[in-house]
Subunit: 188 residues, 2 copies
DNA sequence: AAGCGATGCCAACAGCTGTTGGCAAACGCT
DNA sequence: AGCGTTTGCCAACAGCTGTTGGCATCGCTT
């Protein structure tokens, strides 16, 4: 039936978990269907049956909601720090974002997903927060550059001093940057 | 002889150019020896003869000098803007950095090279510029997070609003961030 | 002109990749 | 109990990968 719980749902879920781990640690091309299937304890052909092909498996594994807070509910001068903390928390609690970031460096579909992630989810927050809505894309892009760069150094490149910081320390440093990108009158 | 100009030097150089292009646009795993050789107009086996294997070829192609200016020669309050402009110029004029960045997302050797690039070249500048030398690694790491994030969004992910900015506009926005990471008394 | 190293290409290898089709066992319904 | 559907594994495929060894050719030295 359509809405009933199928016996294979557990397998489907196990595949997704294994896929996120592999994509996060190896990137798109080095994460093989065989390795993902082995991690999930099943045969590679099951992955194909349930997800069609590798691209669709990645699309399913990289589905993600940033769950950004509503800008309206936050004091205007706290927006940068709040967003910075939220980003780091979201990143640390879910491998999906690391998988997406690693894959996006070499896979065009993943890059496109990253672009739409920021277009659909970050841009509205920037538009609500910045003085001139016409500036919103640029400001959102700058916020993205800082947050993605922090994630890159911390979770992908693992630059020691960036890894050594606590999430709160990192947010305290980066918060004012985000704040300025969102709300400063000018760039100078 | 050792110091004479060999006939194969042109081939060696052509391989390196083709390798940088492929590594920059495709990343480490999707850049194949065959494709690089075809771009260079020679046989794949020549690549092996001259560079040993793919890893060593990448190591040769990813050799890079940031050519950072001496912090002593720059007014202290201009350091952020100067560094930001320098980074962007360096990035735009040479595919090597994009190759290194793309590859570093999925290849551990490339990531290690990226780490040592910032350890050897950026850290000294930060140490010379920041108030307390004990803070230098962290401050250099923060600078790296912003500059690499900008490069990621502009050259790898190609986020439209980040691509649309001129180098000077981008440097004007990011400069104060770098400045604060290097010289601010505290993070708050 | 003869010899020799440097330069280049061709063909092939073993291994891994995504992907497919067929067949056995388990399950759920009547 | 019997039957159709679901779930799973096995074996194999065609293609691509890095890498290797052998053989022709070019160019310089003597």
């Amino acid at each position: 039936m359509t809405s009933a719980v199928r016996r294979s749902d557990a397998t489907r879920a196990a595949i997704l978990v294994a896929a996120r781990e592999r994509f996060a640690s190896d990137g798109y091309e080095r994460a093989t269907i065989r390795a993902i299937a082995a991690d999930a304890g099943i045969d590679p052909s099951m992955v194909m049956r349930y997800y069609g092909n590798k691209e669709k498996l990645f699309a399913a594994a990289a589905e993600f909601d940033l769950q950004l807070p509503d800008a309206a509910g936050i004091p205007a001068d706290q927006l940068g720090a709040t967003l910075a903390r939220h980003f780091l928390q979201r990143w640390e609690g879910d491998e999906t974002l690391t998988a997406l970031l690693r894959a996006a460096a070499t896979n065009e579909a993943a890059a496109e997903r990253m672009r739409s992630l920021f277009g659909d989810q970050l841009l509205p927050v920037a538009a609500a927060a910045c003085p001139d809505p016409a500036d919103a894309p640029r400001r959102a892009g700058l916020v993205a550059s800082q947050m993605l760069g922090l994630a890159l150094c911390r979770f992908v490149l693992r630059l020691p001093p960036v890894v050594a910081m606590t999430a709160d320390e990192a947010a305290a440093w980066v918060g004012p940057t985000i704040q300025r990108y969102l709300t400063s009158a000018t760039s100078a």
